[in-house]
Symmetry: C2
Subunit: 231 residues, 2 copies
DNA sequence: AAGTGGTCTAGACCACGTC
DNA sequence: ACGTGGTCTAGACCACTTT
């Protein structure tokens, strides 16, 4: 007979257990990779893989020479999948549809202009109502930098929403997302079929390609919307 | 002279470049690990490290036998750091303080009872107001399963908030987070020093240790709060 | 200066999923 | 059945940081 082969997952689980059982407490220095490799009878690379994973998950702090410590404040990271609205609606088992409410090039208001940069020509402004079944789901107001994505001017956004079109046709390198709550304005209330002042979940997103702004968008979700995730 | 040593980071950057330049388009099958290793003159493990990273980031879909493809819908993942409220406030450069508004064991209402499970004894109910400077920042209402964390009954929560105490003393294995928007109720408005119906950013969180519920909490942020992240 | 994690290599076997 | 990614090994050198 022989010992079972050690996998990095099993090592990850064991270290995880030692932390949650309090064998290794927050702030504690845990044994080095060589030592653990000897204890578990595996290669150092395997130990490294397991500990690196735990560090990425926020359970360990690792520093060369200083060694590996159990994280003082186990910062839990919640990851949200930013997917296409159509898929999000369909995953709820509802029928998705969308309607372009407006679509025109125009001079943006000052705050938008500031983000876009002065050198950018007039962007395309598109507003879309996304629907789940026959109910309003989300109201999208979007500015698109046509200097970066000129082909959007020729796209038929009634077939594919701007949301989806951009995901597939305009790659971006970085982005910023803000989540907040807002009271529905009169026009938002009308579009989302709710009452003035209703609490609206809002997502503001800016995406860049290199140093150029690609698009600036505000998503206003109909009351009752929840964004959820596991951690 | 000799070629520079290939690192997984440089390979990651190169593949990333080929995707954003459209050399490899969404849905395309890219060369296998062995082939790429030959092209770049490095070990297969190095290629694997780079491609695995890209897959984790959502740019590639990898499946045994089927090979590696450029993701059809580059699902961008936004990661939110769920940190301690005190640290969040202090990072804004403000002075943190908190006040325990109530603290007692009591029978929970039906929805909470349902999540806790019928077998659990009466939980501890704690409400806390977190402040930034002299302004209300967030109102926390929390149910704590004392069967799992009996020591919380002896904790002095006026020194360390329940939020922080639990992070350091009650490790959990899994959790669920929901983000939503709500109109302030009369009592919430009073506590957060705002008006009835103001839009409140709400976080609902349930955490488990194995199959036991550890705590159920609702965080109601004062108007103006934004949760932001980069992607 | 020295110790610890970070990474690369070359080779091997395995697991999964497509064919 | 077989091809592709997933992982392990043993050894080596390197980079960062603390002492």
């Amino acid at each position: 007979m022989s010992a079972a082969r050690i996998t990095w997952q099993s090592l990850h689980a064991e270290v995880s257990r030692r932390i949650s059982n309090g064998i290794w407490k927050p702030g504690d220095l845990i044994p080095g990779e060589v030592e653990l490799a000897a204890e578990f009878g595996c290669a150092r690379a395997t130990v490294n893989r397991a500990l690196r994973q735990l560090a990425e998950e926020g359970f360990l702090d690792r520093r060369r020479k200083a060694g590996t410590r159990v994280a003082l404040h186990p910062v839990r990271k919640a990851t949200l999948d930013i997917s296409i609205t159509r898929l999000e609606v369909e995953q709820k088992g509802l029928v998705y549809s969308h309607e372009i409410l407006s679509r025109k090039r125009k001079a943006p208001p000052a705050p938008i202009r500031k983000i876009l940069g002065a050198a950018v020509g007039n962007p395309l402004f598109v507003t879309t109502l996304h629907q789940a079944g026959t109910n309003p789901f989300m109201y999208e107001t979007r500015w698109i930098n046509t200097d970066v994505v000129p082909s959007v001017l020729k796209a038929d956004l009634t077939l594919i929403s701007a949301n989806e079109w951009l995901v597939e046709n305009a790659l971006f390198t970085t982005g910023e997302i803000k989540f907040s709550a807002a009271n529905a304005t009169e026009s938002e209330a009308k579009i989302l079929d709710t009452e003035l002042g209703a609490a609206i979940f809002v997502v503001d997103r800016i995406t860049w390609n290199g140093s150029d702004v690609v698009t600036i968008v505000r998503l206003a979700y109909a009351p009752g919307y929840e964004m959820s995730t596991k951690i």
